[in-house]
């Protein structure tokens, strides 16, 4: 190494050869004097991340495997209100979070599966479903039928989704920036408003909601008035409002309400 340095330097000027015993300053002279030294961000440590065997999203059936399919009532309350199940991260780091209620049918699920499987790098990322395959039967009557004559036949199956539920989780040796564009593309095509979040993003959202509740300067809150049934307001409200403190209406969520 030193001989190489000597040869390189000797080619440039004769001064260097004369002071062969003073090699230290010459070696440092060959360094490029930059205007400033760049401080590098330490790359995140992925040593404890385990990639599963099948990283891609699995195929979900259009129709559940039932011997006898039973017609079900509409039960729109499976869209109402906040999600109690599957509203936190399990194995992944980044997810699509539903910000409203709605039904996902097989077409949506296929779109999600194909887009994500095509766009993600199977060597560094893995994806997991956080919703079930469609299980709720939706009936339809034939075209041009008059009212009556019994309930229609089962047309297709859907998965109900509530506000705050995770749809798809992504994880692996990647950062949010690498994965965001894939998930945003999918999130835009869903029938309800959805957002791409990391674990920290979700925590941040929950923290902000709590902060809003605590820092509210209004002495009159929805919860206080409805729980005390002030002015008999429960005549025009439902038990759903009592439970959700005016933050939800039907399938919609109001982020500015506290």
């Amino acid at each position: 190494m030193i001989s190489l340095v000597k040869a390189a330097v000797g080619g440039m000027t004769g001064i260097c050869r004369a002071h062969s015993h003073q090699l230290a300053p010459l070696q440092s002279c060959l360094k490029v004097c930059a205007a400033g030294l760049k401080t590098y961000q330490i790359t995140p440590d992925y040593s404890n991340v385990v990639l599963p065997e099948k990283p891609k999203l699995k195929f979900l059936n259009k129709v559940p495997n039932l011997k006898k399919a039973k017609k079900e009532s509409k039960k729109l309350r499976d869209i109402q209100g906040p999600a109690r199940a599957a509203n936190s991260f399990t194995s992944g780091q980044y997810a699509i979070v539903a910000l409203g209620g709605g039904y996902l049918h097989w077409g949506h699920l296929e779109m999600m599966r194909l887009t994500i499987n095509r766009k993600m790098d199977a060597r560094t990322t893995f994806a997991r479903w956080r919703i079930n395959a469609p299980y709720k039967p939706i009936t339809r009557k034939g075209l041009g039928q008059r009212m009556g004559g019994g309930k229609g036949a089962i047309d297709h199956y859907v998965t109900p989704v509530r506000y705050g539920r995770l749809i798809v989780e992504l994880g692996g040796k990647v950062e949010l920036g690498e994965v965001e564009h894939i998930l945003i593309e999918v999130a835009k095509k869903l029938p309800f408003p959805a957002k791409v979040m990391s674990r920290e993003g979700l925590e941040e959202m929950q923290r902000k909601q709590k902060e809003m509740e605590e820092s509210n300067q209004n002495p009159w809150t929805f919860k206080r008035i409805v729980e005390g049934n002030m002015l008999g307001i429960r005549k025009v409200l439902s038990p759903f409002d009592l439970r959700n403190h005016g933050r939800f209406t039907g399938k919609f969520h109001f982020p500015e309400r506290v």
Binding site: Q22, C29, G101, Q217, N218, G246
Partner: protein, 252 residues
């Protein structure tokens, strides 16, 4: 069918409810936002979120408790190096290098190394944060732009200035010599000062000037001394001693 519907409604044979509502609103969960009852609208308007009153908009003033960024390992290493430099070297000069190529830097460094001056470069941010903690905090304004440090154990200012004169792009900003902060002019003035031994010699000669003169006069012939003393008395009596005394001094 209608038959089945009627069966559920008719509790007793031939009983129909008095009022049957024909109009019904939409269900609870709709694709559109259902029109709210006026009382519910009023309730929602009354119970809106009121944010806490902030005296100043959040981004108006810089925050009082500045978020001090944790130093990464590299910064700590650089700071240790800086500390060593400040402890060991008597002379530290801050020079701005504008548009000097690697060759010129090489030549300059070689010239300076002959006199024992080392050229060091540190990132400005690191130096500023180090200086703010140490005694040399007033040096912080010097570190703006592409700066380099010329450090040496012995204050060899003349050689440094001559080397800098040769390379016109290097601008001397200031420095710290013997724990005293000096500006560029201060350093130039410092270089013009004579060396310590010379000054010591001058001081000693100045102090012993009187005694040495008397000693030299006494060593001469005593007749010479007596003539001098007579002349001195004459001058004293005449009253214009100032002019005659130096003349007498010159004569001896």
């Amino acid at each position: 069918m209608t038959a089945t519907l009627c069966a559920t409604l008719l509790r007793n044979q031939g009983w129909l409810p008095l009022i049957q509502s024909v109009r019904h609103g939409s269900k609870a969960v709709t694709r559109h936002k259902r029109p709210l009852h006026i009382l519910k609208q009023k309730l929602l308007a009354v119970t809106q979120y009121i944010p806490p009153v902030r005296p100043v908009p959040p981004g108006a003033y810089p925050s009082k408790n500045k978020h001090v960024q944790e130093d990464n390992g590299f910064t700590l290493l650089l700071k240790k190096d800086l500390k060593k430099v400040f402890e060991e070297c008597k002379m530290i000069a801050v020079v701005q290098k504008n548009g000097s190529s690697a060759e010129e830097m090489l030549v300059l460094k070689h010239r300076l190394f002959k006199h024992g001056i080392i050229v060091k470069s540190f990132p400005n941010q690191v130096t500023r944060s180090f200086l703010s903690d140490s005694v040399y905090c007033n040096m912080a304004p010097l570190f703006i732009g592409p700066t380099v440090l010329f450090v040496s154990k012995e204050p060899k200012v003349k050689e440094m200035l001559s080397a800098l004169k040769a390379s016109p792009q290097m601008t001397l900003l200031g420095g710290c010599i013997d724990n005293t902060l000096l500006s560029a002019q201060g350093i130039v003035g410092y270089s013009k000062l004579p060396s310590v031994t010379v000054i010591q010699g001058e001081l000693v000669s100045g102090l012993t000037m009187l005694t040495s003169r008397t000693a030299s006069m006494l060593q001469r012939h005593p007749a010479h001394l007596s003539a001098l003393l007579q002349q001195y008395i004459k001058q004293q009596s005449l009253g214009d001693g100032v002019e005659a005394a130096p003349k007498a001094e010159e004569a001896t």
